[in-house]
Each structure stands twice: as C-alpha cells, then as structure tokens.
Symmetry: C2
Subunit: 217 residues, 2 copies
Amino acid sequence: MAGDLQKRRIPEATVARLPVYLRILLELAESKTATISSERLAELAGVNAAKVRKDLSYLGSYGTRGVGYDVEYLLFQMSRELGLNHDWPVVIAGIGNLGSALANYGGFTERGFPVAALVDADTTKVGRSLGDLEIRHVDELPQLVDELGIAIGVIATPAHVAQGVADKMAEAGIHSVLNFAPAVITVPDGVSLRKVDLAVELQILSFYQQHRHEQTV
Amino acid sequence: MAGDLQKRRIPEATVARLPVYLRILLELAESKTATISSERLAELAGVNAAKVRKDLSYLGSYGTRGVGYDVEYLLFQMSRELGLNHDWPVVIAGIGNLGSALANYGGFTERGFPVAALVDADTTKVGRSLGDLEIRHVDELPQLVDELGIAIGVIATPAHVAQGVADKMAEAGIHSVLNFAPAVITVPDGVSLRKVDLAVELQILSFYQQHRHEQTV
DNA sequence: GCGACTTTGTGAATGTGTGAACGAACTCAC
DNA sequence: GTGAGTTCGTTCACACATTCACAAAGTCGC
C-alpha cells in the first residue's frame, strides 16, 4: 500500500535507452509501420529483445501479446514519459568553435530543443549574431532563463571556466546541464548533469585498441 | 597457473573513468603536485574514494600506503595502459557543421589524436581545404588509412549514411569508431564502437526534468 | 626502534543491470 | 470454438559494479 504511489521508478539504464527506441519508433511511424514486435525493435536498437520488453514495461503494459506494440500509441506514451510533448528551450554557453557548431546544428530544434539563447563571457563576442540569435553576456542568464523559459543549459566553454558557468546556470534556475567542457563539474542537488567528453571517448577507444591483441591471444 | 597471464581484465566501467583520472593527474603534474591520495583524487573526479583505489588497483599496486600515489609515476603507468604513449591519427567522415567543428577543435590533437584526414561523399566538398587538410573522397579511405596509419574513425555524417560509412571504415582496416550520427550502427567483431548522441543526451535530461517534481514529493 | 597516524589494497556485502525461460494473453485458420 | 502459433510481461538466476570496512604497510616524531 505504501509503495503504490511510487509504483514505477525507471532505472537509469532504461532511461538512457528510451530515446533510442523513440527515434526508431519515429522512423517506423514515418514508414507507415503500424505495429512492431519487441524482437524487431531490439534488432533495430541493437539490444536484446528481453531488455526491450522489460524497458517498455516500465512505461506500462502498452503491448498486445501475439501482436506487438502499436507504434503510434507507444510513441505517444514514450514522448509523454520523456517529457517531449512540449519544447525545452536551450541556452548554449561559450560560443567558440564547438558552441557555434552546436548553435548551427539543426538537430536540436528538430527534436524539440530549440536553441533560445547564446551567452559568452567575452565582451568582444557579445552583441554579434549567429543565425538569428544575438550573443548575450553570461551575466544576463537569469533574465534570459526567466523570459524565455529556458530549462536546459549547454556548456561549451573552455574547461577552466566550466564550473563557474555551471554555478551561474544553477543560480539562474536551470535544472538540467549538459557539459561539453573537458572538466569535472558539480551541480547542486536537484540539478541533473550529463557530460559529453570527446577526448575521453577517444581515449576509451584507444584503450581497447591497445588491448586488442593481448585480449584475443 | 592458467589464469596467470590474463591476471587483470579491467572492467568497462573502470576503463571509462581512467581518462578522467588521467586528465586530473595531468593538471596536478602541471601544478607541481608530487603525490595525491585516493581521497583527494576522488573528490576531484567526483567519485567515491574506494572506487578510485579499486580502479587504480587494476593497473597494479602503484600507491604507497600512508602516502598516496606518485603523480608522475601513476601518469606514466596510466598513459601506457590507455595506449597514449603514442599518437593515434584520426579520420573524420562527414564534413558538415559538426564535422568541421570537430576538425577545427584543437582539443583532439592536443590529447594525442591528431586529425590526419577528412573525407566526405559530396564531390562538391572534395578538394576543398579545412585548416591544413584537404577533404578527400570517402572511397579513398583504404589508401588514407594505410598511408597515414589511421586507427580511429569519427562519423559525423547524416544518420542515413552512417552505417555505410562505418562499413567502409571497417573494411579499410579501422578498428575503432566514434559515431556522432543519430543512428544505431553495427560494426564487425573486433571493431570497437562508441557513440555520442547529442539529442539523446538532451532527451535524457528532459526525462529527469519532467520527473523532478514527482520524484521529490 | 616504538607508537600514533595515514592511506592503500582487497574481501565481503549490497545494489543494479542483463538475459533466459516460461506462463498468460492474444490472433488466425478452419 | 478449438488448436496452433505468436508475442508480451514477469520471474529468477547470474554477472557486473559500487561501497563499506579493515588488515597490511607505509610515514613521522622522538
């Protein structure tokens, strides 16, 4: 009885896979596929079929035994669960090489994450335009967050200022941060943080490359 | 006796953290810090101290009880384990927005992953220069890999051609692939694959943002 | 050289994630 | 409506990862 309200806490590993399923379902919907089995979906997602069924079961019992999952319905439920039934405006901090590329990269807006603001600490950059956005000073974050309803902050600054920017974002009321800077940063409780570190990814690959021979002796 | 050779197989989770420790150690070395305790290193890496010790123990017993780890020595051992005692030339496939940014982003070369070649399938792009590299046609991959000793391929193409590029890379003898395209791709046995999907990261953040209220009732 | 203190390295306990297996629930042909 | 076939949802056992707790092994002051 006590555990009734909190019935389903979705495991982190599952949460990380849901967006992959979602993208596949979108493609299936586009190609007019009405239903999909866990087996086929698993194949497309590159995972085990049992895992797909378990993952989807956290969302509810949306499948039909003997048939599979209704693509449209599953899409609807999954979008709802992922919070994708509305847009989440994003601010990008640090308009250097990477920041500019991210700002120009259409993929964000397309998937419901419109780039609503750009900020930088460099006053020579402030005022310039990129696409149809003007670069603002990082100290204007609070107003920008407030006015534009910004929920997510993307950090594309040099490593040594990343923590400072994260602090400002948290202070401005941003609860989700995606960090591209090659630095470990911390955020207050209640703020979600994810990181993408390109060099780290390459180094992981390097490790396995290095050990490829030793491994399969 | 049989398990002697294969004494230490480093867990995946540990491998993913080693590059983070490495970066911190580099910073410590730069600031002339001679030794570091697992506790302090844990703090800097944002993890648990016991985890640090266990992770480092997979590399060997390089710490000194009562003292900590010698920064320089640990750096040396870790670099060796990660295969970072020499450069790993990289080819970037797909010179669009993201590909260009990656090519210009100095961070790769700086960390031992020089961008040695750029390829694209678009013949109007082939022949153009970016930085000091000329864009080559993707069909030249085998020669480029061979001549330049390329070990790692980075896919920054549109999703619908990513699998094809991955196939060509594997065929050309590349054993490590980093995929930025928003698509699930597969590679042959013996080839390592990692992915970075920006939209997926944002959607994961969106999930937790969506559930933030429900969670902490 | 001894005792107080520090810090590593690892065994054991706990928590999280995965995959096989199987009953339950559905479709379809006849 | 019955039987054969399909596919989901869930249980169970196991593998992997994390954290605690503590003996072992060092330092340092005197």
